[in-house]
Every structure is written in C-alpha cells, then in structure tokens.
Amino acid sequence: MERSTSFAKPYSTRLFVQTVIARAYPRVIGAQREKSWMFFDIFLPLLAVSAYVFVYRAIGAPETYVGFVIMGGAMTAFWMNVLWGMSSQLYWEKEQGNLALYIIAPNSLMAILLGMALGGMLSTTLRAFVIVLVGSLLFEVQFTVASFSALFGTFILTMVALYGMGMMFSSLFLLLNREAWHLANLAQEPIYLLSGFYFPLKSLGFWIAAGASVIPLALGMDAMRQLVFPSGPSLGFLSVPIELGILAILSAGFLVGARYLLAYMERLAIREGRLTDSRR
C-alpha cells in the first residue's frame, strides 16, 4: 500500500516530466553510441545547402538571398526532427511493438512525443547551428540583429507552434501503417516549397503564402528573416507583429488540437485494432 503511493498519479506533472525524460534518454544515449550521424547529419546537409547558395550566385542574385538560403537550410533540421523523429516514429514504434506498451502505460502520449523531439534535439540543434555558423562564415552572410530578445522570442514561438503541429499530425500515424513512411517522405519538398525555405515567402504570391502560413515555419522564418537581415522587411510577407500574433494563435490551436486528436485517434485505433497490426 505504501509502495503504491510512491507512483506518480496519472497525468500529473511529475509523470509527464518523467515520461519526457524516459523517452528522450535512449535517443541521447543512442546518439552517443553511434557518432557517424555527425558526418551524415551535419556535414553533408551543409554541402547540400551550399548547392542552393551557388544556384543564387550562378543567376546573380543579391547577397541577401544567400542569407535566406542559409537560414532556410538550418531550419530544415527542425522540420526533419518533427517529421522523422516524432510523427513517423510512432509508425516505427508500432512495428517494433512499443506502441501498445505506450498505450498500456499510464502516461501521456504528448509526453512521449515531446521526449522523442527533445531526445533528437541534440543533433537537430547542432545541425542548425553548424549550418548557420559555417554557412555564414563561408559565404560572408551579414546579419543585423536589431533585437536579440525579439529574435529569440520568435524562434521559441515558431518551435512551439511547429512541435504542436507535429504532435497533432502524429495522431494520424497511430492509424497508419506502411503508408506512414511514404506520407512523411512526401512532406519534405512540398513543405520546403510552400514554407519558402530557400526564397522569400511572399514570392509565392499573397494567397498561396497566406495558405502556407498554416505551416509555422513559413511565418516563423519570414519573421526571423525580417529581424536579422537589413533588407528583410522589404522582402517580408506580413509585418513581424502580425506574424507573431498568427504564430501565437497557431501555437495554442495546435497544442489543444494535438491533445484532442491524440486522445481521439488513440480511442479509434484501439477500437479498430490498429495499434498492434503491422506490415499491411
């Protein structure tokens, strides 16, 4: 009786934090055991991003666009983490037999997803940092940050909205089987295109850019570019305060949506017996 009282209550903050740490732990340890990712996940993407810089050089683009590519290339790391490290990971967990264990345990699925994201954050942040640092030095990108606090706040808000969206869409992966991998694969180039990873968002035209604004990285990157490049405001889609306001709404909406959808999809997956079936 005394022993049982030492367990955290279901959905308590303590259990949430414990779950986050428990899920992040194997990822952090795994990254330490196999360090080859540093070459494949940091050095090689830096070369790929450089290719886009040279495209702009080949067509005689202003140097601001080089900075846009460097920032976009760095932000791909976060999208990849959401896509492969969080959303589609649920599919792999199902294939390994872990997903059913996650559901059986008295913890929050949001905590597990957050643990996955934080566990992969080491490689993600390092990749983004190296691309910004080395890319800026190699290509002599000039940053003019007017307010570091505004830049930091924009980045954090973008990340909250992005990972909230990732959690929301992760719920779909509770139901998916082999198509999960293909759908995640499909969500790369189209998202790079619609979010303006390598060019100003407003180049897409107002209505397409407005539609793409539902992807947090689109507005987040646009706001950050306005804050760090001298000519950023002239190439921005909307003003920074408006973009931050939309990002705040998206953050709240995605987090609430994630909580609701994860619970709904979990019930649906249980009812349809999808949590343990695999390889269809």
């Binding site: 196999e34 993407p45 070369l47 067509i59 089987n177 293909h182």
Partner: protein
C-alpha cells in the same frame, strides 16, 4: 568421373550466373511490391508526381524571382534538366542502401537472407530497381511539366536517343555501384543514420554541376567536381537532349562526346570495383561484430 567433374564445373558456372540473376530479379520484384502496394494506384500516382514537381518548383521559384521569369535562357534549361535527372541519384543510391535498414530492422529478414543461397550485392541492387522505376516516372513528370508550363527548350525530334539511352544506362550502373558502397556502410551503422543515401546525394549535388556550371564553384572546389563521375554523366545527358545548350557552357566544352563516354566508363568501372571491395569489407566487419540482425531504432 570426368563426366561428373564436367557436370560439377557446369553447375558451378551456372550457379555463378544464375544465382546472382535470380537474386536480382526476385529482389527487384519484392522491392516493387514494397514500394508500390502500400496504397491504391491513384494515390501512388499522385505521390509520384507531387514530390518531384515540388522539388523542381523550388528551383523554378528561385530562378524566376531573380531573373524575372527568363525561362528561355540556356541557364534555366541547364538547371532544370540537371535537377530532373538528379532525381535518379538520390533514388537509386537510397534505394540500394535503404534496403539494408528495411530488411534488418523493419522486416527483420536480413539474417534469413544471409543464411539463404542469395547473392547479397545483387539482391540489394535488385531492391534499388523499384526506386529506379519510380524515379523514372518522376523524371518524366518533371520534364513534361517543364515543357508544358515553363516553355523548357527541349525538342524531342532533335534528341540524340542512342546517346541518351547509352548515357542513362551507364549512369544507372554507376549509381547502383555507389549505392552498394553506401549499403556496405549502412550494414555497420545504426538506424538513426538511415538517410545516408539522401545525405550523400544532397552533398554531391554541390559538386556534380547538376544545378549550376562548375565555374561557379571556387577554384579550390572545382577539382572535386571534375573527379565526380556524375559531372560527366549529366553533361552527356544534356548533350544528348539539348546539344546546343550544353555547348554554351564552357565546363566540358573541350571534351568530345567519345571522350566523355570514355571517362564515364572508366569511372564507372573504378566505382564498380570499389563498390564490391568496400561492400565485402563492410559485410565482413558486420558479420564479425554481429551487426547483421541488430535493431537500433531509438
């Protein structure tokens, strides 16, 4: 006794030819099933179209906003075709190397493949065939979209088809060999580096002159580009498809088509030998360390 020995020798010779081919074709069929039967044909077709179109559209938007839509320029044709055919690079290399992760950690069949009479390199290359086929659809869709919507200066009547097909075939063999090298490396690394094929393809994007002429690179980086077989492969494809456009760029203008084929053939042979040696070495290491059936999905 001598008849038995002859039969034995013949069987061995037949085995040397038949087993690799059987492994290759069976793997190709298996790979196609895995790649295509996860959904209905309509969704598969949509999937095959959206991804390459979006990839090409990124470059089109980049080019369009800077040049204000000068799509009739030879540089646009250079970029567009280079990018379209580069789809093969990631697809084939990733197709071959991904099969290792897929079989080892997803289907958990790699250990059974190793205890069956299967020729592993041919099996893995066979698994890459499905990605080659889907990549072919993507390349066709990308080029067709360019011709229909972007006025891509490609006249099918003037294409040197024998040269094009020969260059394409040689390039695919080259890519399969490069994929085999990566498959060997994949045997020794954990699941979280599964994107190795895409990562290497992305890096080679910089050096192969796929989306910009090598003259744009700094002087100290150009030799890397000239050492890459993909540079010659893409040049041959461009010359076969749009000869005049290819000639307007000075990178390889001093090299004849025959010389280009010679260089590509030589480099393909070198990469083929390197691929086999590297794969066998990595495979041996993986067996020594007990990595053939490990699961490393964190």
């Amino acid at each position: 006794m001598s008849r038995t020995a002859t039969v034995s020798r013949l069987s061995k010779r037949e085995r040397n030819v038949r087993e690799p081919l059987r492994s290759f074709f069976t793997a190709a069929w298996l790979g196609w099933q895995i790649e295509s039967n996860w959904t209905d044909p309509f969704l598969f077709a949509v999937y095959s179209i959206i991804k390459p179109i979006a990839g090409a559209a990124i470059l089109v938007v980049m080019y369009g906003i800077i040049t204000r839509g000068a799509f009739e320029s030879p540089l646009f044709v250079y970029i567009y075709l280079g990018n379209a055919f580069y789809i093969y690079v990631g697809s084939v290399m990733n197709g071959v190397s991904w099969a290792v992760i897929d079989d080892r950690e997803h289907y958990k069949t790699l250990k059974y493949i190793y205890i069956a009479p299967i020729h592993a390199p041919f099996y893995l290359v066979g698994r890459g065939v499905a990605r080659f086929l889907t990549a072919t659809i993507s390349v066709l869709v990308t080029i067709t979209a360019g011709m229909l919507f972007l006025n891509l200066q490609l006249d099918l009547g003037t294409v040197n088809w024998p040269m094009f097909l020969a260059a394409l075939a040689l390039g695919v063999i080259l890519l399969a060999n490069m994929g085999l090298m990566l498959a060997g490396v994949t045997l020794m690394i954990a699941h979280h580096v599964w994107f190795i094929g895409d990562a290497v393809a992305g890096a080679l994007y910089l050096f192969s002159g796929a989306i910009f002429p090598l003259e744009v690179l700094p002087n100290w980086l150009r030799p890397v580009g000239f050492a890459m077989p993909l540079t010659y492969w893409l040049e041959l494809l461009r010359r076969a498809l749009v000869g005049q456009v290819a000639e307007s760029f000075p990178t390889l203008s001093h090299v004849s088509n025959g010389q280009l084929f010679g260089i590509l053939l030589g480099l393909t042979a070198i990469f083929g030998i390197m691929g086999i040696i590297m794969f066998r070495w990595c495979e041996h290491q993986a067996r020594e360390r007990g990595l053939i059936d490990r699961v490393t999905n964190y």
